[in-house]
Amino acid sequence: MRTPQRLGLAAAGLALFLAIWEAAPRLGLVNPAFLPPPSVIPGAFWKEITSGIWFGAVLSSLSHYLVGLAAGVGCGIALGIASGMFRWFESATAWIVRVLRPIPGLAWVPFAIIWFGVQPSAAVFIIAIGVFWIVFFATQGAVRGVDRDLIEVAQAFGFRSSTARLVKILLPASTPGILVGVRTALGQAWMAVVAAEIFGVPGVGQRMMQASSLLATDIVVVYMLTMAGLYGLFDSAFVALQGWLLRWKA
């Protein structure tokens, strides 16, 4: 199919979706309090912006998101490298990993509250745990999969310490694999943001809970779309960064 045809179909599909959505509450098929028609969303969005609530919620969520993501990705990469490089480290941590890995990130909520209180740091903790394992396993696999032949090149030219091996070969060679993990983490972290804020830390998630308890479903939808937009923004920016970092690939 040619590009204009595809774009036309995509637009038509979206229009149809919005039309059905608009019609359902208006024709009384569903209670408008449970499902607001899309036409009321821009108004609700405007109100959230002019009252300043939107910026506050988004800024606070973004700060949780970025700090949590940075912490989880940083630890994941560091420990993933250690585990991929050193057999002894992998063996020493094997059972710990086996016990901790299957615990869902949200199962840490009780401890997050006990340790940090209903504070931004609790949200950061939940988000960091949510992305840690993804990045850890991606990094470990990528480091272990580095071509032995390239490591031999480093040895042949006198780079024999493990630091040199890491900086000259392992890190650049495993960057593609690590970035795949980080991109998955980017999406996973948004889920964790909502989950972490639903228990009361200020941000988008908390605002959604407030709105839903007042049956202000239009505001809930505003924030759902806000998150979709932010995720799209971050993902596109990341894909661009990834393309630039991996411009050496064929």
Binding site: Q155, A156, F157, F159, A164, K168, P172, K249
Partner: protein, 251 residues
Amino acid sequence: MESVIDIEGLSLAYERDGQRTEVLADLDLTIQPGELVAIVGESGVGKSTLLRVLMGLAKPSGGRVRVATGDSRRPPVALVFQDARLLPWRRVISNVAFGLEWRGIPRMKRLERAKAMLRLVGLGNLAHRWPHQLSGGQRQRVSLARALAVDPEVLLMDEPFSALDSFTREALQDELQRIRAETGKTVLFVTHDIDEAVYLADRVIVLAGTPAGISALVEVPVAHPRSRHDPTLAATVRQLRTELSARSAEL
């Protein structure tokens, strides 16, 4: 003149699952400065193991190996691998500069030297390409430039042209001859191609047996630059073939 490589009674064995395998036994070899010595032998005979010993990546189990070190800033050896093994995330020029990065040479100096080496192998205009944008022959030239950049006492080459098509291979053989004339580098060249060995080398060493030792040593009495059609070269190739078939008949 002081030799650059001096190997005396070298033997190497490794143990796996309590089984001792001898790869090299009682090998003697002396290489003079500026010489090109070719080592031929069947695959798996231990040619690459010998190179690994010279690089210090494998430990001999007996004998003495001495590689000259001119001064502390120059490594004794540098290797050109069979497959070019460029680092795909580095541009051509930074691949060539790779071996200079631990010697405390400032970045500008490194790049200058890399550029000069690229010009030497005829790729001065491709400095900023990525390795995946090069042909097989160009990649092998870059690999050669990378090894030359560190200015080693001895250039080790491990079947460097065997993966190339025959036109490219001949072009690179001539290129190596020209570079050797320009730089006076000592070269130890491993190959399984007898014609190549005779065309390039001052001396050809045949490695054979298990464990492997030097089974024949043939001088190639033709001055450089050489013609591929030189009858003496053809005669030397015949002589070597005879030696080799006599060897394999013995075994």
